[in-house]
Amino acid sequence: MTTPGRDLEAALRRELFAAAAAVEPTPGGLERIRARTRKRPPQPWLLSVLLGALSRARYWVWRGHWAWPGSAPGPHALSRSGGRHAARGGWLRLRPMVALAGVAFVATITLALPPLRQAIVQVGSNLTGGNPSSGSGANGNGSLSGNGGGGALANDANGTPGTGSSGTQSAAARPASTSRCQPTATPSSSPTTASPSATETTTDPKPTADPSATVTTTSCPSPGASGKANSPTSTPTTPSVTQSGTATATPTTTPTPTPTPTDSGTPTTWPYPYRWHDYGVTASGTPAASGSSAG
């Protein structure tokens, strides 16, 4: 039985065939396969195309070629040229990192473009059951939506006019803390600012807040001290809300780059996604870091 060299190969081949010949499959295999394939028909063509592209990318990442392994030369095809194989080995090691970098680049570009980002957030809010109107309303009109769908979008320092935020949503999202630390970022040079009192009565859940208290909130620290884009000092957006009982908020962008705190004592709608307590500051918190802060 134990013969050296090629005899061993011949004996192995003979024994393998003898052992396999003793195996006889049970009949009815085709019927079982057909029963399975009836339950699971071929994939739809769109899904098959997507999965094919995914598998090609996967093979490119791990194997180094795009196609099915049997139809394209694998790494072993280059094994005879040592230099090329060595150079290819380094590239093979870098390929997963290149793929990850590509994915990160695409994700960054996607999130950097406001329309795409808005679309993604809108889709996300829709999928999570959020109200799309609240997401769009948060885009620049200064109201903080309660469900968080547009919270990130409200960080748009460009003052993109948003439409359709109802006053009830703003009121629900902005509790009484608005009146205790109300930023008075209303530029005095903004002549188009509507009567803030109307805004207060419709958007603030506590319309009885003392306007003088709002004025005293000028001592509230401003996030603009950290140089963020959403700071009141860097945002020329003035959320002038015209209310006629329908709670329609219309933000107006004023050309004045530096809003000046006024003592008009009229509370305005807070146009930024962060509230003061998000910075760990209470109404009687620490004073602003810089004097030029509008907060």
């Binding site: 039985m1 134990t2 050296p4 061993l8 190969e9 004996a11 192995l12 081949r13 024994e15 393998l16 065939f17 003898a18 052992a19 396999a20 010949a21 003793a22 195996v23 006889e24 499959p25 049970t26 295999g29 085709l30 079982r32 396969i33 057909r34 399975r36 394939t37 699971r40 028909p41 071929p42 994939q43 063509w45 098959s48 999965l51 094919g52 598998s55 196609a67 099915w68 392994p69 049997g70 139809s71 694998g74 790494p75 072993h76 094994s79």
Partner: protein
């Protein structure tokens, strides 16, 4: 019509999105079944040492090929796809069996296990018994080389490894078999 002719004919279908795709897949499954099912089951038996499990593995491979029929770029390589699926699923079965055996309670010494009963059919020779002691990759390389009569390139494609690795696995397997058989004979 032979299996190769059928596969070549289906490969000439211009549009894989046609409604007849399912019918083509059914036809190819039928053709390959009649031509290759028995040899695929025997190949799987040599890998998993169990006839029912081998049949299950082969039927799974047929189902997977039928399901992914639109993704097969070269329809004439459906048999290669099937063979690779059989090897991969056999590997998965062995891996699962290893985990199960590790956690299963050990039977009494005089009680034959169910697996031993299924193995009695094919373990009649010392060569097959020695083959079973090899690592999975080495056993796959040996079976594909000496039973399926595949070339090194085909073995490499089937196992998903390089041709050099196939040579290495085969050489180590033959050395191990030789030492085991010499030890038994002495």
């Amino acid at each position: 019509m032979s299996v190769t002719e059928t596969l070549a004919a289906t490969a000439l279908i211009p549009d894989a999105r046609s409604p007849a795709t399912a019918w083509d897949a059914d036809r190819v499954v039928t053709e390959i079944y009649h031509g290759e099912y028995k040899s695929l089951v025997r190949l799987a038996v040599l890998l998993v040492h169990d006839v029912p499990t081998a049949e299950e593995v082969v039927q799974d491979a047929f189902e997977a090929m039928h399901h992914a029929w639109r993704r097969l770029r070269e329809k004439e390589k459906a048999l290669s796809y099937l063979r690779q699926a059989v090897v991969n699923r056999s590997r998965s079965v062995l891996r699962h069996r290893t985990v199960v055996d590790r956690n299963a309670p050990k039977p009494a010494p005089d009680e034959p296990s169910a697996e031993q009963g299924a193995l009695a059919l094919i373990e009649r020779s010392a060569v097959i018994a020695a083959l079973r002691t090899l690592p999975d990759r080495q056993r796959e390389a040996v079976v594909l080389r000496y039973y399926a009569d595949l070339s090194e390139a085909d073995i490499a494609a089937t196992m998903g490894i390089s041709r050099g690795a196939v040579k290495s696995h085969t050489a180590r397997a033959m050395a191990s078999l030789k030492s085991i058989l010499e030890l038994e004979s002495s």
